[in-house]
Symmetry: C2
Subunit: 163 residues, 2 copies
DNA sequence: GGATATCGGACTAAATAGGTCCTGTAAATA
DNA sequence: TATTTACAGGACCTATTTAGTCCGATATCC
């Protein structure tokens, strides 16, 4: 129903946790599962996917574990989502041309592409650093929403969170 | 996979078709299915959902059918999506508080809310009139993307479409 | 009254997501 | 070297959701 899967949500929680405790040593899967209160096998599965996508680096053997591959502010949300559930695309046709019977006669194809682009851009601007609480504010807090002004309240709450 | 369901996509295609032929008489389900090249039972199901949500008005009996309840520029995309697949929310927690075990300790809950708000706002700005080709340009063409400038190409193509 | 077309929901089948478990392999340690 | 630890990669099963079909009831027009 137009939402990210629970696995992805979990994955981002784990990533945020890793971003939060900015120590260099790697955390193993069991430990991360405990910290985030999530089922261990699931966390393990998620970690493997994230590693394969190049968002985490893994260290095998005893004292092994996972750690962030990059700085949190260089990991956009869209990349985490992509890693865990494939390419982001509002509609099927957005990703895979030719999947649709209409295609040629379809009126809404092009507009969907633009909508998709807008959402994609929004998810690209937001990084893991924005999700994790900035306990060490060395870098500036990047504004979350990249939309131009509208009168809904979330932008207000965002502005409040900034100051 | 972070996309709208195929049914919803179909539904919007049908709505766009209805918006395109701006005659006042209602179109029946069979006719709409033919025009859009979609399976008739599916179209029928979609039409019922859209009617229940108040986006279409139906007329029973012979010469019956469906027509738009409002002007296309007063039907936002988000409403069509909501009608066909429930409330728009990126994460489960965004919609239903208490579904998550963490909830209290969760770091990412609030940022997700803001992301969700941004996407929601984007889908609210885009209306059915933007999706259907403006064959009768009495009203101005409303810009699709409501995000502030970024360097990806879709905004460029959008700007090109405007002028 | 008969033809037409929506209404509402039940129903089945297919696809996807969620979750578990097992075998192999790399690294550290004793 | 032997042992322990912990990731890698799948196979696998189950639950849930989605897609699609169908039918009896009801409303409208002629
Ligand atoms: S719905 Fe697939 S191309 Fe338009
Ligand atoms: S993941 Fe559910 S409240 Fe944070």
């Amino acid at each position: 129903m137009f939402r990210i899967s629970r696995l992805t949500d979990y994955g981002i929680v784990v990533m945020a946790h890793l971003a939060e405790c900015r120590d260099d040593d790697s955390h193993n899967a069991r430990e991360l599962a405990e910290d985030t209160q999530l089922p261990a096998p699931v966390v393990s599965k998620i970690l493997k996917s994230l590693t394969r996508a190049g968002l985490l680096v893994s260290q095998r053997g005893s004292k092994g574990g996972y750690s962030l591959a990059r700085s949190p502010d260089e990991i956009p949300v869209v990349e985490m989502i992509t890693a865990l559930e494939g390419p982001v695309g509002i509609t099927e046709c957005t990703i895979q041309p030719g999947a649709c019977a209409q295609e040629s006669s379809c009126q809404v194809r092009d507009p969907w592409h633009r909508i998709n682009g807008a959402v994609h851009a929004a998810l690209e601007k937001i990084t893991l650093a924005d999700l994790a609480k900035p306990i060490d504010p060395t870098g500036p807090f990047i504004p979350l929403v990249g939309m131009d002004g509208d009168e809904t309240d979330h932008t207000a709450s965002n502005a409040k969170a900034l100051e």
